[in-house]
């Protein structure tokens, strides 16, 4: 009966599109998601402006001030007394500064990987779905093959061969995650390919490239965004996992994954060294998941009215 109300109350609800005024209204009605959005915004801003925001250099050790608990004062290398709001790590580096710079590394890896894999996977998925035939067979076989081998295993395996590090990690994530976008994009393309507006575009002589770019792609942005958001969360966690196994980012670059991986040795004596970056990852992925979940619900014509209420 929900369908019925949707169609009888307003024609607009038959469409996938929704004004952003509605989105903002729905956002305000959902304080948890609103907090998530604010948190992520602040996080991204501080990651971008880490040099300005971070109180200290995240790389310079002060081995005489190592493992200070939060809210400790220590004499810095320049002889002045400094407050370590969130304590210091094993090398006496300021935890807060490292968390801020770590956000940059972790988010950079996740965002760039998601971007690369998203663009690659979406293109391949759209092309496969649109043209069908052997192109589709090849792409989907590749998707099947990648799906058959768990991502973490491939990542581990390839990083083992080519070595860790920022660029390699991004490459690997792009390599193993493009398939999820390809699968989604192909599925949507298959259904959009048969829609009348695509036929109409063909009838007015639009080329295949134009149909894919102008008519098919824009209509899968919402689900792709949801997927990408979830993927960012997944990759932040994956970075932590690979760093645990020693296949991740290379120190001294601060990354959250590396920080908890290192911090676990001090778990009982210096809880903040593992808990704070763990918390940072948790909050970030939770926020991303909340937002993705919420966005999906808002975009879903069946469930939307509940969220817009």
């Amino acid at each position: 009966m929900i369908d019925e109300t949707a169609s009888t109350t307003d024609d607009t609800q038959r469409d996938a599109s929704i004004g952003y005024r509605d989105i903002i209204r729905a956002l305000v009605r959902d304080p948890l998601v609103l907090v998530s959005v604010i948190f992520l915004t602040l996080l991204i801003l501080s990651a971008i402006f880490a040099e300005i925001v971070a109180p200290m250099d995240p790389l310079i050790p002060n081995i005489f001030a190592s493992r200070l608990p939060p809210l400790s004062y220590a004499t810095g290398l320049d002889g002045t007394e400094q407050l370590h709001l969130l304590g210091t790590d094993a090398l006496g580096r300021d935890m807060l500064s490292r968390l801020i710079f770590g956000a940059r590394a972790s988010l950079f890896v996740a965002l760039v990987s998601v971007f690369v894999s998203g663009v690659l996977g979406t293109c391949l998925g759209v092309i496969a779905g649109y043209y069908g035939g052997w192109v589709e067979t090849v792409v989907m076989r590749a998707v099947d093959a990648f799906m058959a081998v768990p991502s973490l295993l491939i990542a581990l395996f390839v990083l083992f061969i080519i070595g860790g590090g920022l660029v390699n990690m991004i490459l690997i994530f792009a390599l193993v995650r493009w398939v999820v976008y390809a699968r989604l994009a192909r599925g949507i393309t298959l259904s959009l390919r048969e829609t009348q507006f695509v036929e109409a575009a063909r009838a007015i002589g639009a080329s295949n490239a134009r149909i894919m770019l102008r008519h098919i792609l824009p209509n899968m942005i919402s689900p792709l965004l949801v997927l990408a958001t979830l993927e960012i969360a997944l990759l932040v966690l994956a970075e932590a996992g690979l760093s645990f196994l020693g296949f991740g980012l290379v120190p001294p670059e601060p990354s959250w994954g590396l920080m908890i991986s290192r911090g676990r040795e001090y778990m009982r004596e210096a809880w903040w060294m593992i808990t704070l970056p763990g918390l940072a990852i948790f909050l970030t992925t939770l926020s991303l998941n909340l937002i993705a979940n919420w966005f999906r619900a808002v975009m879903d014509p069946v469930q939307r009215w509940r969220w817009l209420m």
Binding site: F197, A200, I204, A206
Partner: protein, 325 residues
Amino acid sequence: MVDAKPLLKIENLVKHYPAPGHGLDKSRVVRAVDEVSFTLHRGETLGIVGESGCGKSTLARTLLRLVEPTSGKVLFNGEDLVGLSSKEMRARRCQLQMIFQDPFASLNPRMTVGQILSEPWVIFPDILPRAEWKERIWYLLTRVGLSADDASRYPHQFSGGQRQRIGIARALSVNPEVIVCDEPFSALDVSIQAQVINLLEDIQQQFGLSYVIIAHDLSVIRHCSDRVAVMYLGNIVEIGTWEQIYGNPLHPYTQALLSAMPEVRTKDRKERIILEGEVPSPLNPPSGCRFRTRCHRAQPDCAQNKPELRVRAQSHQCACIHIHD
């Protein structure tokens, strides 16, 4: 009204789809459109009726080459469209346009009305210089009964009838000669349907268009068409002027269809022929006459001989071996 030379001539058009689940077996095919021939003259409206699954939508798409025909010819102004490369075909698309059934699905929700209307001009910059776009969009919108302000709005901001008007404006934007309308009214409310019928008739007169209108609603086809073709299982079983088809239907199928048509004026109701069963699968059509399994006048020999479309009266053709008048 009828030129000597037809604008559009369809000859033995065939569209077979590979049967689902029989990928390797080429002999198993869905015979969606099977050896269909007809002509369309300038300024004429041809109505095509038939039940769902009879191949009328496939026919519409095949003759625009939105679906590649298996064989046959589509002669437009004497040129066979089937043989053209896809690039050449794209250039001809301006002359043949289509109006779609579902006004909700036929407009890209991510484009404004202005973008939808101007898209052909983006693709073929020769049609209209950019400076005239705005004016032309206004003209088209007002012509189909919308306002010029609507150009910047998105499809979801319109009602179904208004969207169908946008679809019509889009078809008009390239100055076509033929417009194929695939069930243009079936998604519309009755009160809106009449408006759109009137609009289509108006612009036909104004622009000298030819229509192929596909519909299942017999009364709409009667109202709009000059000539009517009746399709059953991929074949045309009867074709003639509207007077011939409605006044003197020859084929048992046509007769059954007309008798099943609900009439508002209950007084003049004819004896109703109710067909048994449903349209058989085009994957495995009956031998001989395809209609024989449901025909109230079927004879044993209908299973042997495939009836040809034969001229019964002036321009009135029918494919039934038991019509002897």
